[in-house]
Amino acid sequence: MLSLFKLFKKKESSSQIAKSRLEIMLKHDRMELTKDDMLEMMDRILMVLKDYVNYDKDRVQMKVKRENGETFLFISVPVIGRPASRDWER
């Protein structure tokens, strides 16, 4: 059954393989953030966060992971409390 299926399935040409490999590769390459971009993005995210939570800034971490053709950005921020007051809550 399997071999029959193989027989009818058109073989992918090596140029098609090349093209799809390139598409995946470049998606990642183009997503690559520079160190400066990362630091700047982190600063801006933390700037927003500090209005809502207190966090331990020495233990903030950021990671980029690639899994199954997708790129994930992980940021972990240890929350240690709430800010004392927030203007708009008054």
Binding site: S14, S15, L22, E23, D29
Partner: protein, 266 residues
């Protein structure tokens, strides 16, 4: 004021020097005053491809170090009086020139010439950056291979980040027999992936190697497929609207007629 082009690629060995030499000759054949600049300090090649290796006295490092005047380092081509070469130094490294010095050389050259064509070294470091820094426009050369296309994408990103705008692409060493069999990325595939404007395509042609052996750029050999490809690119550089697919009939086995068949023509 002349235009300054950098010819670059990321990956090595894809044809930057061959392209620089042939476009230089082609533009000069059309009457423009052209200088080709070898920015591959330490691995000079452009002189050899142009057949001018025996005429070099000074080089670009001598110029920036003040050992000679710019005019003294320029080598005049032996066939075309309006074509020149500014050679690289063979015994120095990329660090022998700063980006400021390169900018200054480019601004002097553009006052003298209609076209300044800079042959970049492979890579994405100092050598590439120096080659590109003084350029108004960039030409990226790639072959239809995975690693070359990947590196071309990287270089395109870097050129854009350097403020050089969107570069134009030359796809070199195309083999239509392999494209037909599905064993080589087609022009369309490469353009889909890189998404930059196409300046031209050059077939893989033995004549290129024969020409390099002799130090006579292939564009001088009227009969070859590669020569026609280079002439078309030169015409496009000068603003002519030459279609990428050459339609004039030729012997059926040639690159161009095969290409026509591939695109569904007769």
């Amino acid at each position: 004021m002349g235009e300054v082009y950098v010819i670059t690629s990321g990956k090595g060995g894809v044809g930057k020097t061959t392209v620089t030499a042939n476009l230089g000759v082609g533009l000069a054949l059309r009457g423009a005053k052209v200088v080709t600049v070898d920015a591959d300090i330490g691995l000079r090649n452009l002189d050899v491809v142009l057949g001018l290796e025996n005429r070099i006295v000074f080089n670009i490092v001598d110029v920036v170090e003040g050992s000679c005047r710019l005019e003294q380092a320029l080598v005049r081509d032996k066939r075309l009086e309006n074509l020149f070469l500014l050679p690289a130094a063979q015994t120095r490294t990329k660090e022998a020139i700063t980006s400021e010095q390169m900018l200054e050389v480019c601004s002097k050259l553009r006052k003298i010439f209609d076209y300044v064509l800079i042959d970049s070294p492979a890579g994405i470091e100092t050598g590439f950056r120096n080659a590109a820094i003084g350029a108004d426009k960039a030409i990226v050369v790639t072959t239809p291979e995975v690693s070359a296309v990947r590196d071309a994408d990287r270089i395109i990103g870097l050129l854009e980040a350097m403020g050089k705008g969107v570069p134009q692409l030359i796809i070199n060493r195309i083999r239509l027999d392999m494209v037909e069999k599905g064993d080589m990325l087609s022009v369309r595939d490469v353009l889909d992936i890189l998404a930059v404007p196409l300046l031209g395509i050059i077939p893989d042609d033995e004549e290129v190697i024969v020409a390099t052996n002799k130090g006579e750029p292939v564009i001088f050999r009227d009969d070859s497929d590669a020569s026609r490809a280079f002439k078309n690119i030169v015409a496009r550089l000068q603003g002519e609207d030459v279609p990428i697919i050459e339609l004039s009939p030729r012997k059926n086995t040639g690159f161009w007629s095969k290409l026509r068949q591939l695109f569904g023509g007769r």
